[in-house]
């Protein structure tokens, strides 16, 4: 069993470090493990699990939220949100770093992907921060850290996947992220403020109230999007996937008839572009089902469960141990793969000691989002480093204080379930 797990996990990690695309690293490690340890198994299970892993109506929400975000971006929403955020918080010391955080918080209500947000907002905000005198490393770091809010404030792609795996209400999961997302934003802004004061970063000007209100009206439609999504789900009008499709329709209508910046040709290009972003994300989901299947066969889940429960049955201690485990997973693994492979192992353990699956979902997703900031598999670091032109090592150094405060937020969410569950409990299942 040990040799099997070493080949599977070690093989995957080794291939990732050697620069093999993640989907093939997971697939090849799984295939080699099957050939060495399960040579009697029919290999037809490989395409079967890869197709079966994505054969889900709930997962269809993912391309819809990608589409809605891209359409809103093309309709000029990102620039409007940045201008509004600048008017709102640009006057504080380190103004543009706060603008970055607030923009990410607002944009999180449209998109549900940290990676997509880091690229969309970063390509706009990082050059702007560098031009204004902020070091490229810091600009990349604050953008990467802020992008982790994307999948916490609803909608959220990892939460949709967690909802499918754990069979819990996606609407409740979405609601569980509202307060933690706001807290993350607040903590990141406070940290950016102290760094800015110490390094004497510039500040802009507060916008006159009337002009701010005018801008607020123009971004009001962006605020409306998450309300439509969550409201529709909770009122039972539509499922999370249908909410995604409605969000696409909503963004198309806004783009064509309100902002009038969207063109039919652009819309077609967005659809074609979304096929690629959907395929590259969801094929990892498919191949992770194969990987997870081998993990399940190796009985490692039971062994980990027994080990954790032998240390303590106290929910707080168990949550701490699970958090440490997922933090390490996040350092080495893609969040979606981490969810698919390890949630089925830990969910029965935590629910058996009375932890609510929605609370657990929020904690795991937040933990894995922090993993996007930690090397060696910290995608947000590489994306923002590429945009800023700064070395990854510098971005890693600059992002450390933000990782520290996000860990504090993670601990708050872990040990204050009432805060996380307040909104989900209001609406029930």
């Amino acid at each position: 069993m040990t040799a099997e797990v070493v080949l599977l996990l070690g093989g995957m990690l080794g291939l990732i470090i050697l620069g093999m695309p993640l989907v093939f690293s997971i697939g090849c490690a799984s295939l080699l493990t099957i050939l060495v340890f399960h040579d009697t198994l029919p290999l037809e299970m490989i395409p079967q699990l890869m197709v079966g892993g994505t054969d889900s109506f709930a997962l269809l929400a993912i391309p819809f939220f990608f589409l809605a975000g891209e359409i809103m971006n093309s309709a000029g929403m990102t620039e409007r949100i940045v201008r509004f955020s600048d008017g709102l918080v640009g006057g504080i010391r380190g103004g543009l770093s706060h603008v970055n955080v607030v923009t990410n918080m607002i944009y999180a209500g449209i998109s549900g992907s940290a990676v997509a947000d880091a690229a969309a907002i970063g390509s706009f905000m990082i050059p702007s921060m560098v031009r204004s005198g902020y070091p490229p490393g810091f600009s990349a770091a604050i953008n990467a850290a802020s992008a982790t809010i994307g999948p916490i404030i609803p909608p959220s792609i990892p939460m949709i996947i967690y909802g499918v795996i754990a069979n819990v209400s996606v609407g409740q999961l979405f609601l569980s992220g509202v307060f933690p997302g706001l807290i993350m934003g607040g903590y990141l802004m406070v940290t950016a403020y102290f760094i800015s004061v110490r390094r004497n970063y510039p500040k802009g000007k507060f916008m006159p109230f009337r002009e701010l209100m005018r801008l607020a009206l123009s971004v009001f439609l962006a605020f409306l999007s998450p309300l439509i999504i969550i409201g529709g789900i909770l009122l039972g009008v539509f499922t999370a996937t249908e909410a995604g499709a409605v969000a696409v329709l909503y963004s198309i209508l806004i783009g064509f008839f309100f902002y009038r910046q969207l063109k039919l040709k652009t819309l077609w290009e967005i659809f074609k572009g979304t096929v690629v972003s959907t395929g590259t994300v969801l094929i990892i989901v498919g191949v992770s089902y194969l990987f997870g299947w081998i993990i399940a066969q190796s009985n490692i889940g039971n062994k980990i469960g027994e080990l954790i429960l032998s240390i303590s049955k106290n929910p707080m201690v168990v949550l701490l141990l699970v958090n440490i485990f997922f933090f390490i997973v996040g350092m080495f693994m893609d969040p979606l793969a981490g969810l698919i492979i390890f949630v089925p192992i830990f969910l029965p353990i935590v629910t058996s000691i009375g932890i609510h699956p929605v609370h657990f979902g929020l904690v795991v997703v937040l933990n894995l989002m922090i993993g996007l900031l930690t090397p060696p598999v910290g995608y947000l670091l590489y994306i923002t480093s590429a945009i800023s032109g700064e070395k990854v090592e510098v971005v890693i150094r600059e992002v450390m204080p933000f990782i520290a405060v996000l860990v504090v937020v993670l601990l708050i969410c872990t040990y204050w379930p009432k805060m996380v569950m307040y909104l989900p409990n209001l609406v029930g299942r």
Partner: protein, 164 residues
């Protein structure tokens, strides 16, 4: 990573358009599903299963296009710090391994399609084998695009000088 044009470029555009049409159809059907159920009170019974079918094809088309577009998630910075020609050697080795994996997906996918030919969707008259066919078509496309990339990498390898 650049689009190399030629037959591969045309193929990319065809796959991209096919994927766009499939995704647009899934989006439209899902919007109509809400409208017909909630506004007209006429629920579709086939729409969920059919959009799932379309979604599988979207994923495999997109995964295939991700190779020439360089959109698959990858950590290259450790490999790229090694002295030349080691990054190229490692890329060739990992590409060959990935091609082996894709070969298994395609060959076993064909076998799976044959096994599933008598299974049908519940709400519309189509064999489930057409969903699994996406892994064969997508796998072949990925194999082609990755093979093309491997050929380009091989051309970059420094050649040994001939002894005179």
């Amino acid at each position: 990573m650049e689009n190399t044009g030629g037959s591969g470029g045309i193929l990319e555009r065809v796959v991209e358009s096919a994927g766009g049409v499939v995704l647009a159809a899934a989006t439209l059907i899902t919007i109509l599903q809400v409208f017909f159920r909630y506004v007209l009170r006429i629920p579709f019974i086939w729409s969920e299963e059919f959009t799932r079918f379309l979604f599988i094809w979207t994923v495999w088309f997109g995964a295939a296009l991700g190779i020439p577009r360089g959109k698959h998630m990858v950590i290259k910075f450790i490999r790229d710090r090694l002295p030349m020609p080691w990054p190229l050697r490692i890329k060739i080795a990992t590409d060959l391994l990935a091609l082996f994996f894709l070969g298994v997906v395609v060959v076993k996918g064909v076998s799976l399609v044959q096994m599933m030919s008598r299974e049908f969707y519940v709400t519309f008259p189509l064999s489930v084998k057409y969903a699994y066919l996406a892994s064969v078509v997508g796998g072949i496309l990925m194999f082609f695009f990755l093979g093309r990339e491997l050929r380009s990498t091989l051309r970059l390898m420094p050649r040994k000088e001939k002894k005179t």
